[in-house]
């Protein structure tokens, strides 16, 4: 291939990882630099390896944590953790055993690094620009915030990577979403992401890798960029990517698993070249005016139903939209809708700046008595930093619960769930029917909006609470 031809960021990372190129009759063999593992999507893959008598090929490129099935309440006096079922406890024990047997590093219960897989990877400096990162989890796109090609895989593919450190992949198409202008005060990365998803639609990214670019993206901190990339799958895209810049490099410097000292500076100069060349061609280009975005919440049962909080819910234009409206039965004006539960956390919005934004709204205020508010930090490190800043005191004083790190009520498989019929404003990523528990109704929003809704008792624009009008 000619090096003169302009290439996208995605193309550069793809090209650097092709072990065997694709042909008409077979996909490319693509090398994986980092394989993240958690307890839910890995046990059957380890079983498949055992059946074949195959070992984990590169345990040094594999890193595991416990997050999905883990209780967020502390152990009892006897040290027993309150697992939702014995099966959940066994699933965690299975990952602990598999990691021991295969020599895989595990951020387990006793580790200060444990947390949601997509929070701890970047936090530890495991996620590097220009690498290929995979995990048996669709929100792996999060790591694309660093200019990595990061995507979710199924359990069969988890087995492929464990056994060979490679995947069979067809080259995806590309979309570039350029967000021009600046986000207004009180408008967050989550509002930007939900607006992009609403623009492209739930299947708008299917078969594609999305590169996010433009002034509004460049202005985001790394946590905001992670929020945007994290949600790429909610429009069907396998991966989202943002070109690394000084924000990225400064964020990574000094992280325990990042290169250290001179090696870091040398890598950083390579990372700076990871941008889409002038003239790089994308299969589709989309432009968004970020300055027009208002705080957003979803009205339906797919993540592409975000509208401004003060707006009216659109008339259903299809049987599916009608079903969504009937399931959610929000008020005509979204902001008039009463709230039962508020969940602040997840791989989308469980990082320190997210908790700071929520605390800013809740400070000195009280959660409405009819609302249950749950704040769950994304990792042990986030928990410790938040407690050092006193954020947990703000939440507790407001009447919210402060829990141990994990996926918690986002996926609701650990016992943290929303009761049937209740409406939750959630900083998580999916509002599908029953996502947060059978019959639960989920409204997706930013941490500030979730906090404001907890205080108000109905879906609320956070700006008045932030002194922004």
């Amino acid at each position: 291939m000619s090096s003169k031809q302009p290439r996208s960021l995605f193309q550069k990372v793809w090209d650097a990882h092709v072990v065997e190129p694709e042909a008409d009759d077979r996909p490319a063999v693509l090398y994986v630099d980092l394989h993240l593992v958690h307890e839910v999507t890995s046990p059957q893959a380890f079983t498949a390896l055992a059946e074949r008598g195959v070992k984990v090929r590169r345990p040094d490129r594999t890193f595991a944590t416990l997050d999905h099935s883990t209780p967020t309440l502390p152990p009892n006096a006897k040290g027993e953790r309150p697992y939702v079922t014995p099966q959940a406890r066994d699933q965690v024990a299975t990952l602990e055993k598999n990691c021991r047997e295969h020599g895989i590093a595990l951020a387990g219960w006793d580790s200060p690094h444990r947390g949601i897989v997509h929070v701890i990877g970047p936090e530890l400096g495991l996620t590097w620009p220009g690498t290929v990162v995979v995990c048996g989890d669709s929100h792996t796109a999060t790591h694309g915030a660093f200019g990595a090609l990061a995507f979710g895989i199924g359990t069969s593919e988890v087995g492929h990577v464990l056994a060979t450190q490679c995947l069979l992949q067809r080259k995806p198409k590309t979309i570039r979403v350029t967000a021009d202008g600046s986000l207004q005060p009180g408008v967050s990365a989550k509002d930007l992401a939900l607006t992009i998803i609403a623009e492209l639609g739930i299947g708008g990214g299917t078969g594609c890798v999305v590169e996010y670019a433009g002034e509004a993206i460049r202005a985001l901190d790394m946590e905001g960029r992670m929020t945007v990339c994290n949600l790429s799958i909610e429009m069907g895209a396998r991966a989202g990517m943002i070109a690394p810049d000084e924000t990225t490099i400064n964020w990574l410097r000094g992280r325990p698993r990042a290169p250290q000292g001179e090696a870091f500076d040398s890598m950083a100069s390579q990372w700076r070249a990871l941008v889409s060349d002038e003239g790089a061609v994308f299969d589709r280009e989309v432009r968004i005016d970020a300055s027009k975005i208002q705080p957003v919440a979803t009205w339906g049962t797919t993540p592409d139903t975000g509208i401004a909080i003060g707006a009216s819910v659109p008339r259903p234009g299809s049987p599916s939209a009608e079903r969504a409206r009937d399931y959610m039965h929000t008020q005509t004006v979204l902001a008039d809708t009463p709230v039962d539960v508020v969940f602040i956390g997840s791989c989308t919005n469980g990082r320190l700046p997210d908790l700071r934004a929520a605390a800013e709204v809740m400070r000195g205020r009280k959660v409405k008595s009819s609302v249950r508010a749950l704040v769950v930090p994304g990792s042990e490190a986030v928990r410790q930093q938040a407690e050092a800043e006193g954020l947990h005191d703000v939440f507790l004083a407001a009447g919210a619960e402060w829990r141990l790190p994990g996926c918690s009520m986002c996926i609701a498989m650990n016992g943290d769930l929303v009761a049937p019929g209740q409406l939750a404003v959630s900083t998580s990523n999916r509002n599908f029917e029953g996502r947060q528990g059978p019959g639960a109704r989920t409204v997706l929003a930013s941490p500030a909006t979730a906090a404001a809704s907890a205080i108000a008792g109905h879906i609320a624009d956070p700006r008045p609470y932030l002194g922004v009008q």
Partner: protein
């Protein structure tokens, strides 16, 4: 993996769009460490109430699954999570193929590795097929044709996955034969 060549079976139509993996198998059932026996959990919250009583109003509770192996579903089937439990649940329930106008990426990848054939057709073909719920259709993977009534519709399947399905070959075995090239790559690039 059992080879997939030609399948003739009655259809079940679930016309809803965007049937996500939380509908196909709710997350609270993902604490299993096995891939077997998940069919009873397929579409659980559509099939059962909070007390575990079967709803009579869903077609899924009124059919003999083994006689209805073709699921015809609305646009963007299988969106959401990467859980392979979704195709595990669908195949254990009895399905061998899903026909839609659009099927999510990760679901497609997972389905192909489990002998569940994702078939994407145009809207008109889908409309014709969905109007004949419970009737027989034939999916021929050799010719990549979906046939029902007087209709014959072509569909596309990624060529390598198609070969693996036709031959009943699993992809891990094939990938392992590439270990020398992988080792070579690591020596060059990723030591």
């Amino acid at each position: 993996m059992t080879p997939f060549t030609t399948l003739t079976s009655r259809t079940v139509v679930l016309p809803q769009e965007n049937i996500d993996t939380d509908q196909i198998i709710p997350a609270r059932f993902l604490t299993t460490t096995s891939r077997d026996g998940l069919g009873k959990l397929a579409f659980y919250d559509w099939r059962y109430d909070a007390e575990g009583r079967a709803h009579g109003d869903t077609i899924l509770n009124r059919i003999a699954p083994c006689a209805h192996r073709i699921l015809v579903a609305g646009r963007n089937f299988g969106c959401g999570s990467s859980r392979e439990h979704a195709p595990w649940a669908l195949t254990d329930f009895g399905f061998r193929a899903v026909v839609s106008t659009e099927i999510a990426d990760i679901f497609t990848s997972n389905a192909l590795k489990n002998g569940l054939l994702p078939v994407v057709v145009d809207q008109q073909t889908w409309n014709e097929l969905a109007a004949r719920t419970g009737e027989n259709a034939t999916i021929d993977l050799e010719s990549c044709e979906l046939r029902f009534g007087n209709h014959v519709a072509k569909f596309a399947v990624e060529s390598f996955a198609r070969r693996c399905l036709l031959d009943g070959v699993d992809t891990l075995g094939w990938l392992i034969t590439h270990l020398p090239a992988i080792e070579d790559y690591e020596k060059r690039v990723a030591a």
